[in-house]
Structure formats: structure tokens, C-alpha cells
């Protein structure tokens, strides 16, 4: 293990810290108290860098065909070197900024202010802060190195427990509210003064999750199998599970309160967009970057059909075209029209494949956003001022504008879309899409009319996406062009990609992570796009099949990777004998 490599890995960790500091993210998360007032989000970020750098630096490697695994003590030493490099870089930057003059640095990097230096320097003088950073980096690095060499039965529960505790601290806006709704007084767990966990609460959660994780590692598989057998063999058990699950889902908005229900509503709108885009991208393999066109179309069509009015400087005016339909009458019309728009967008680009298709759809999506804010279409859709008075989808006097009510309306449509996607996936149509995605020419030769199935994919995806738009219009009641920009297309794409292209649970997870988390943690709001960008790149490099992969799709994406090492790994997994090569250190212990 060369020192050069260790230092390099450490420096990458240090650069990551400097990056989050200079973008302003570090200062933002410094406001989050995770545990007490001592463990803030910023300090966790500062600590994670050397730890992870060391953890990665000392991972077992294959050298000359042999697996080289460091002993605990040497790993700790190496980790300390990497951690020192990470911490040292940050310390050096701190000293440099102070010496060079913070004002001069700030002329370029506007986030570098005295407050940031305080955060990075632990509210000490610069020299002491730099010392803490370097020494702390070395210590954490040593810990990271040692942790890597720990045996998996110990390492996993510890890692899980620390992760769960930090997550519990991060979810300080959800957990206490739900506990209060359940009638549990939670002051001993979450301190009202700091918003975060109390030290006692953190300790209890740590111990609890450690125990659970340890038990799960020992008995989890057996327990899961037992439950599965019961559910499979006893129909009544299945019904009970179903009732319990729907009961839990039905009480979510009541449990979580209006603020979180509001976020959940947005999450579900994007779930619909993700499900629609998943049909186009995941099933049919057509990369559509103009999905915002359907979102915008659905929203504005719903507004126009249900009596929305234009915002003007003096009040409101009737649009050039408008109807006064009920939401439930309008929604099928919107879907049909959107399917038509899908055909219109799809038709000219049928012959294009891959990247060209992406750019053309991007252009078409941009055209829609430009048009809805243009002066030309102002009499129809209100231009920059937009529209208001969209229906609230009321049903016998029950309005769905309220976030807690909107949840149920959105849930119905999400379930419908999930059902449609699920049935489509394995239908004749879905198989045709798969074939087309994997090799268009072969599919064509096998008698699949690629023209027809491409159009069908655009139309179906468009219809589902327009429902997302229509519900969005119902949810917020008024529309402005700012909600319909290219970023919607990219967010929907990120949702699909993060979860795994072609995977329905993937879309659900993707929407919860990408829309839900930033919505709940308002500190992250302005860094959302930065995080999406980083997520798209890293998912594509590290795990192209996504978090919850579709099995067939992941096989296709990994085809290139099936090398001899892979084969050896699989053999080892099957026979339980460690393979001669490859990173099989995980299971052997």
C-alpha cells in the first residue's frame, strides 16, 4: 500500500469538504443540530470525509492475482495517513484563507465568510482550528481504516446503528410530529430547544438499532422466510397484511400533519411523472428530455377545462378558450389530449435514436416552456402571470386542495398508474418495448412494428405525465410558467434513473428520496439541483441499474461486466468456497 495512493485518496476527501464548503452547503447544514448542540450537520460532514477516505483507501485490493488485505493495525496506520491528508488539506485551506485575507477570497467565492471559517475551525482561533482538523482527520482516518478491517458480523451492525442514529437526527421534522400525533410526549428523545436528538435519545437509538441489526444479521433471514411461507400459504394472512398496509397508508397524512403532507403531495406528483417517464425511458428505451411538455400540458389543459382564469394586473380575465367541466370529467379528456400530444411529438422523431431523440425532445420541451410564457399565447394561458382558479376536484363538497386531502386523490392516481405500468410491463406490449429497447433492428426483424410501439410509448407516457400535471394544477390552484421549466424533465429523469430504469418500486423510492428528502430538509432546498446532478453522475458510474433495479434491465446494463472475476465470484457464492481471486473478502471473515 503506497503512501502516495493513500495521500491521493485522502486529498480527494479533503477536496470534497472544500467543495461543500465553497458551495455554501456546509454553512447551511451547520444549522441542523443532529445530536445535542455538539453534533451538527456540518461537523458530521467534516468528520465523514477523512473517515470515508480512509475506509476506501484501505479496502482490500487484488495485487498480482492475490487478494491483499491489511491487518487491523496497519490499516489503522494507513487510514491515519489518508485521514491526515484529508484533514490537512482542509486545515491548509483554512490557514491560507485567513492569511491571504478572507475578503479577497470572498470576491470570487462568495460563500467564504467569517461564519464559514468559524464552522470549519470549530469556533477556535485559526491555528487551533487547523490543528483540530489535522489531528481529528488522522484519528478519524485511523478509525476508518480499522473499521474496514473489522469482521463483517461486527462491522455491519455498527455501521447500520450509526447510520440510523444520524438519520433519526436528520428526520427531526417528521419523527417528533408523528410521535406527538400518536400522543407520545417525545421531549426526552428530541429536544425542543435544539430540534435535534438529545444525547440520551441518540444513545438509546444507537443501542436499539445496534441490537436490532445484530439480531437481524443472526435471525433475519429465517424470520423473513417464515413470514413469507405464512403469507404464501394462508390466504387470510395475506388479507390481514393488505388491510394493515392500507390502514397504515391511509393514516399517513393524519399522522404526519399538513406540512409533511404538502411535501408528500409533491412527491406523489413526481411519482406520477416518474411512472410515465419510466414507460418511455425504462420500458421503451426512448430517452425523452422534454417530459415537462406533458406536465405543462396536463396542468394548463386542466386549468382551461375546469374554468381557470388568467391572472392580469387588474385582477383576472377569462382565457381565450375555456370550459367549466368537473375535474372527473376533465381528467380523461386531458389524458386523451396528452396522448395525442405524445403522438404529435413522437411522430417526427420516430426515426431518431438514442442521443438525437434526447436532444429533439429537449428542444420540444423547451418550446413548450417558452410558449407558455410568451406574449403570443398570453390570451390563452396568461403569459408570465399565469392562471388561477383551477378546480379543487371537490366531490360532494369535499375539497382536495388541502394537502392532507390531496394525498388521497394523488394516491388513487399513483396506484392506478402503478397498476397500469405493472400490467404493461409483462404484457405483449411491454415485451415488444423491451425487445425494441434492447435492439431496435432485431425487434423490427422479428415483426415488431417499431413505429407503432414507439408511438404507443410516447402516447402512454404522455397520458400518465399529464395526470401528474393535472394533479399539480389541482394541488396548487394557480399556475405560473416557472413551474414548467426544463428542470422538471431532468428531475423526472433523475427519479427514474435513481430508482432504476424500468423498475416501478424504483420510481417510488426515487421520488421519495429526490423530492421528499429535500422537501423535508429545507436546508437542502437550494442545493437540490446540485445534488441531483451529482446523483445522476454517480448512479450512472457506480450503479447504472439504480437503487431498486429491474432485474432484466440490470442484466442488460451489466453485460459488459461479466468477466472472469465475476464468474469466480459467483462460483464462490454458490459453493461457499472463497474464489482464488476477486474481492471476496466480504463473506470469508
Amino acid at each position: 500500500m503506497t503512501v502516495g495512493r493513500l495521500v491521493r485518496t485522502g486529498l480527494v476527501g479533503g477536496i470534497a469538504v472544500l467543495f461543500v464548503a465553497m458551495t455554501g452547503l456546509l454553512a447551511k447544514v451547520a444549522e441542523i443540530n443532529l445530536i445535542g448542540t455538539q453534533i451538527t450537520g456540518a461537523r458530521v460532514l467534516l468528520a465523514i470525509a477523512p473517515f470515508v477516505a480512509a475506509y476506501v483507501a484501505v479496502r482490500p485490493r487484488v495485487v498480482a492475482g492475490r487478494l491483499e488485505e491489511a491487518s487491523s493495525s496497519s490499516a489503522a496506520m494507513s487510514g491515519a495517513v489518508a485521514g491526515l491528508a484529508a484533514g490537512g488539506l482542509v486545515a491548509a485551506a483554512l490557514v491560507f484563507t485567513d492569511r491571504y485575507g478572507i475578503e479577497r477570497v470572498r470576491e470570487i467565492f462568495i460563500q467564504v465568510d467569517p461564519q464559514l471559517l468559524e464552522i470549519v475551525g470549530f469556533v477556535q482561533s485559526v491555528a487551533v482550528g487547523a490543528l483540530i482538523l489535522a489531528a481529528g482527520g488522522a484519528l478519524l482516518g485511523a478509525a476508518g481504516g480499522a473499521f474496514r478491517t473489522m469482521r463483517p458480523p461486527w462491522r455491519r451492525p455498527i455501521g447500520t446503528a450509526v447510520g440510523v442514529t444520524l438519520l433519526a437526527g436528520l428526520l427531526q421534522r417528521i419523527i417528533p410530529i408523528s410521535l406527538v400525533q400518536l400522543g407520545i410526549k417525545a421531549d426526552w428523545l428530541y429536544s425542543p430547544a435544539t430540534d435535534g436528538l438529545t444525547w440520551l435519545g441518540a444513545f438509546l437509538i444507537l443501542v436499539g438499532s445496534l441490537g436490532c441489526s445484530w439480531l437481524w444479521a443472526r435471525r433475519g433471514k429465517a424470520a423473513r422466510d417464515t413470514v413469507r411461507t405464512i403469507v404464501r400459504e394462508q390466504p387470510s394472512a395475506r388479507i390481514i397484511v393488505l388491510i394493515v398496509a392500507s390502514g397504515v397508508v391511509a393514516t399517513i397524512p393524519l399522522l404526519l400533519g399538513a406540512v409533511i403532507s404538502e411535501v408528500l403531495g409533491t412527491v406523489m406528483v413526481f411519482m406520477l411523472l416518474g411512472l410515465g417517464l419510466n414507460i418511455v425511458v425504462g420500458y421503451a428505451g426512448l430517452l425523452d428530455l422534454g417530459y415537462v411538455a406533458f406536465f405543462g400540458f396536463g396542468a394548463y389543459a386542466m386549468a382551461l377545462l375546469t374554468g381557470g382564469t388568467l391572472n392580469t394586473t387588474t385582477g383576472s380575465a377569462a382565457p381565450a378558450f375555456g370550459m367549466d367541466l368537473n375535474f372527473y370529467v376533465a381528467i380523461p379528456i386531458v389524458m386523451l389530449l396528452a396522448a395525442g400530444v405524445g403522438l404529435l411529438i413522437g411522430a417526427p422523431v420516430l426515426r431518431l435514436r438514442g442521443d438525437y431523440l434526447a436532444i429533439v425532445t429537449l428542444g420540444l420541451g423547451e418550446m413548450v416552456s417558452i410558449l407558455i410564457s410568451s406574449t403570443w399565447l398570453k390570451p390563452l394561458v396568461g403569459g408570465p402571470q399565469g392562471m388561477r382558479n383551477v378546480t379543487d376536484a371537490e366531490i360532494v363538497g369535499f375539497s382536495f386542495r388541502d394537502p392532507q386531502h390531496f394525498f388521497y386523490l394523488a394516491l388513487v392516481f399513483v396506484l392506478l398508474a402503478v397498476f397500469v405500468s405493472w400490467r404493461l410491463a409483462n404484457s405483449r406490449i411491454g415485451r415488444a418495448w423491451n425487445a425494441m429497447r434492447e435492439d431496435e433492428q432485431v425487434a423490427d426483424a422479428m415483426g415488431i412494428s417499431t413505429t407503432r410501439f414507439k408511438l404507443l410509448a410516447f402516447a402512454t407516457g404522455g397520458a400518465v405525465g399529464s395526470v401528474g400535471g393535472a394533479l399539480f394544477a389541482v394541488k396548487i390552484g394557480s399556475l405560473t410558467p416557472q413551474s414548467f421549466e426544463i428542470i422538471v424533465s431532468i428531475t423526472a429523469l433523475a427519479v427514474v434513473v435513481l430508482g432504476g430504469m424500468g423498475s416501478i418500486p424504483g420510481v417510488v423510492v426515487g421520488a421519495l428520496v429526490l423530492i421528499g428528502l429535500p422537501g423535508l430538509l429545507r436546508e437542502f432546498e437550494e442545493f437540490r439541483l446540485l445534488i441531483y446532478g451529482a446523483a445522476l453522475v454517480s448512479i450512472m458510474i457506480l450503479r447504472p441499474q439504480g437503487l431498486v433495479p429491474n432485474i432484466r434491465r440490470s442484466r442488460e446494463l451489466q453485460e459488459e461486466d461479466v468477466s472472469q472475476d465475476k464468474w469466480a465470484e459467483e462460483l464462490a457464492a454458490e459453493t461457499g468456497v472463497a474464489a482464488p481471486i476477486g474481492p471476496a473478502g466480504e463473506g470469508s471473515g
Binding site: 425511458v281 435514436r353 434526447a358 436532444i359 426544463i486 431532468i490 446540485l530 441531483y532 445522476l536 453522475v537
Partner: protein, 366 residues
Amino acid sequence: VANASTPGDDTTTVVRMSAFDRLPLRRMVLVGLSVAIAVFVIWGSWKTLDAKAYSGAAWREFVILGIAQGAILALIALGYTLVYGILRMINFAHGEVFMAGAFGSYFFSAAYTRSGFMDRHPIPALLILFLTAIVTSVTVAVLLERIAYRPLRNSPRLVPLITAIGASLFLQNTARGFFGTQTRGYAKPQILAGDWTILGISIARIQVVVFVVSVVAMIVLQVFVSRTKTGKSMRAVAEDQEIASLMGIDVDRIVVTTFAIGGVLAGVAGVLFALTFEQVNFFMGVRPGIAAFTAAVLGGIGSIGGAALGGFLLGLLQSIGPALLLTGIGVPSPFQLKDVVTFAVLVLVLIFRPGGLLGAGGAEKV
């Protein structure tokens, strides 16, 4: 038309084809579409010219503006085309490389303007601006290739494209975080203010500079690619990566070089753009990036001459098109729809001539 089976031959399956597949519907639609477009163009232009909405001087302004902007688009388009030629991927983040160059030079420009160096010694100051922009852009482009694209060299085509979109978003928002959301004024030296009279026409100095610098950069690029050893290696890699590597060409090095050259051109374009519009912001790479890509496609992606031609053509279309086509038929503020013209051109080129104007004319199936 497959039911040509002889009677009594029961082994032949009758393949039914629907009317949709049998009719040359696509051709009919295309012919109809092109007729509709021609009618629209002629009608719109006629109405505008008939109404005498703009004076002759205004049209001349449009043309000059179009050429100047086209020159910048051409420089960016070359970056797309070079990378596409070699890796067959759309470097979606190229617009951000351009933005990085403009931002990199901004800080020097601001400092020089404040100290007065800019107006006292405009030529060295401008050279330093170009240099810093080039260095920044090249750094970003090379890092992009190394970190984001190289690990995905042999993945399915959608994977690098999605990565590129992610990288674009990431770079944009990095700039937003580092430098803030506000638009910053980018002062140009006194020497570039005002007009020059050339052949009896008075043209803004900055537009002359933009044109000259771009054309020089393009000529240098053309010479580099056709004459130098590296340029020849680039063409060899574009032709066939595997064979090129067998002939002793270091493909990785050539790919990096290509990204770096794209970065140089983007940096130059960044300074020219900033000097023309006298401002920079983190979002400035998006629309020019898409427009430049359109220009590359219009000229024939993968071809250097095509990118240059496409850039100038699109610049002209953007500056003349909305005024000429939309004013007469009563569309208010037609220049809001400038980018609609861009995208319409892109879609039409891809429908009618996917190979681009100088490309293989649709022979390459895209």
C-alpha cells in the same frame, strides 16, 4: 404485401399488414409538412416585408448581429462536433465548459477594470482574459472527461448521455454555489466600444472582433486537425478507435486532447460572449449550449466545416427568422420566440436531413 401464397399451399402463413405499414404514410406526412413550412415561410416573410415593419438599416443590423452571434455559436458547436466525432456521444455539459471560461475570465476582467489596467493596456489585458478563460475551460473539460465520461467509455449509449446531463446540472449549480445567483456585469475596454466603419457600413467594434477572433480560431483548428500529427491521430481515432489503438495511437490521450481543444474553443467563445453581452451568470451556458448543438447538427455533426457553417447559419436564422416570419402575421414580441426557431430548425433538420447539410445526407442512421 405478403399474401402472395398459391392456393392450396397451406404451409404459407398469411402475414397481414395494416394499412398503416403499407402506405408510404411517412413520405406523405413529410411532403405535406414541407409544403406547409414553405407556405408558412413565404407567407410570413411576404406579410412582414409588405408591412415594411423594419427599415433597411434594421435588416442590416439583424444580419450583422446574426453573423457575430453565429461566430460564437460556431466556436461552441466545434466542441460538440469534435467530441461527437470521436466518442459518438453528445457532451451535454459543453455549455457549462463555455460558462466556466466566461466566469474564469470575469474575475480578471473585474480586477483590471477596477485598477484601470484594462483601458490603459487593452491588448495585453484581453490576451490575459482569453488565456484565463481557456485555462479554466480546458481544466473543466478535461476533469469532466476523466471523472465522468472515461469510466463509461463502453457502456450503452444512454448511460454516458444521462451522465452528461447530470454533469451539466452539477457544474451549473456548482457555479451557482461558488459565485452566487446574481448576474455580474462584464465590462469591455473602451477600445471596443463604439463603431468602426467598414466598406461604408458602420459596425459595432465588438462584433468585428468576435468575427475575426472566431474565424482565426477556426482556421487554426482546421490546420491543426489536418496537418499536425495529433490532428491526424484524432481523425484516425474518429474513424476507428480499435484500429487506431493497434496502430500505436494512445486513444485515451487523443480523447483528452479532443476535450481540451473543445475547451480552448469554448473558452474563447466564453470571453467573446461575455464581451458582447457584457454580463456573466451561472445559467449562461444552457441556451447557447443547446443552440450550438443545433448548429452542429445543422451542419452535419462530426464535421468541422459543418459546425462552422451551421453556427453562422443558425446565428442568422435566430436574428432574422423571428422578425421576418412572425412580425407580419401579428405575433407580438417575436424575439421571445428566438429559441423556438432554433428548436424548430433542429427538429426539421433531423426529420429531413439527419446527416446535416455537409453530412452524409441521411445515410448515417441516427
